[in-house]
């Protein structure tokens, strides 16, 4: 488990807006390793884990996007039944509220991005309990 930087981008719900973000990343030679999109009726927030947070942040701001960098937890665990549950059990028992999360798994490994309200505290708890 480690704490990493996540880039979030405010995007109006209009066709083609995400393309603009991906185009900027392509031009900047920035790789996106994970992302999730949260939406409301009129806007959405695109959250991404990218190869170069600073460069992506700069490029998107130059293109007038509303961007924000936050700490999130990256938990890498075994891709087998029950791992996710054990992680969440530990956090719930310690009253850690999770704002959102997203994950993907492939082969032996599963990667989960967790955005608790209190990132530092959640990191400590996962560190000491080692649920996976």
């Amino acid at each position: 488990m480690k704490t990493i930087k996540q880039l979030s981008v405010f995007i109006e719900n209009r066709t083609g807006r995400i393309n603009e973000v991906t185009r900027i990343l392509e031009v900047g030679g920035i790789n996106m390793s994970a992302f999730s999109l949260a939406e409301t009726p009129d806007f959405g927030i695109l959250r991404m884990i990218v190869s170069d947070v600073e460069a992506a942040h700069r490029a998107l701001k130059e293109a007038h996007f509303g961007v924000n960098v936050t700490d999130v937890l990256l938990v890498t665990c075994a891709n087998e039944p029950g791992t996710m549950h054990r992680i969440l059990e530990v956090l719930a028992r310690e009253q850690v509220f999770i704002e959102y999360m997203y994950a993907f798994s492939e082969g032996e490994v599963a990667n989960v991005i967790i955005r608790p309200t209190d990132v530092a505290r959640a990191a400590e708890i996962l560190q000491s309990h080692q649920p996976c």
């Binding site: 109006e12 806007f43 007038h64 996007f65 509303g66 955005r115």
Partner: protein, 433 residues
Amino acid sequence: MIWNQPKECMSSADKRRMQGERLRKLVERVYHSVPFYRNKMQQMDVAPRDIRSIDDITRLPFTTKQDLRDNYPYDLFAVPMSEIVRLHASSGTTGKPTVVGYTRGDLAVWSEMTARALTAFGADRNDIVSVGYGYGLFTGGLGLHYGVEHMGGTVIPTSSGNTAKHISLMHDFGATALACTPSYALYLADALRDCGMPREEFALRIGIFGAEPWTENMRREIESKLGIDAYNIYGLSEIMGPGVSYECGFKNGSHIGDDHFFPEIVSPDTLEPLPVGEQGELVFTTLTKEGIPLLRYRTKDLCSLDDTPCECGRTAVRMSRIVGRSDDMLIIRGVNLFPSQVESVILEIEELEPHYLLVVDRVNNLDTLQIQVEVRDGFYSDEINRMVELKRKIAARLQSVLGLAADIRLVEPGTIARSEGKAKRVIDNRKLV
């Protein structure tokens, strides 16, 4: 029927004499009791003795909404507060509405004028009138309310907000007349069609519509959808409220209660009086008002006057429909809105850039107001909840100042056009033709 035959059908010569006499007394009164007017008149080198007939009105100073704001709350009142029995206010910029005060005599005139209007619409003491204007600081609700009572009719103080309830009240109480904004009447017409109760079970026959500009096309649509006669009633709180002018059965312009409110049409650019029939800005002098008498108040409403005799027998001069505004005021669901009011709120919210765009439209006959704003750098969050909460906060702040619900739209940075000179702050997609 005519409520006050002697006044509404007075000969032109008698009326001018009466107006001149009333103006003379009015000027005498404001000169001695309102420092604002005394100073203005002294600056213009005009004294009360210079006002001898109604023609001398052009020597008097104008009054604007800004003057009302500058003299907030009571400095334009011409009587002590012990004489004021009612206050009304229209929304203003943050914390500063424009306030008007009425004496008992002012309320009596208002009731009389509204009774004149109702009678001109064909209503009488047997009518049951559902007043769907908002009750409160806005003059629409209480203005009509007192008029119906004064006429001797039955008033249902329905107020605004709940369409289903309004329909069932009109149905169960046998309402014969409906007072509301014309756009709400169209909305109500659709709701009535879909409510499951047949039209024959409603006694509705008269519509009393005002507080926003409307068109002949809207009249036709309202009349055919609701199966009623639809009439225009005009007013503004600064002068009195609804009943300043009203249509008669001939629906060919609204008769101004010109024994109480003297109308002029001036050029909005030069402020020079324009000949009768020409289009310009409507200006009123409140000939008999006691609480807050106003000299040559600029309504900013653009229209023309017609002093030819009307077939109904009334000699009271008629004003055309309002064709526009000489300022940037918008009327949304009957509520007056200045873009500057929105601006004053936006500037106070630290999370926002000082740019905004108002998009006004009419959807299913109801005005919609969308306010686009940009979030300032540093206040973007990765959490949806925070952004939604920010939106809610902006909406609540705007609603409390504007008295109007708006759809807040957070847009991407730089989306709202910045321009050097006069920025385009409003897109009005309503088609009032």
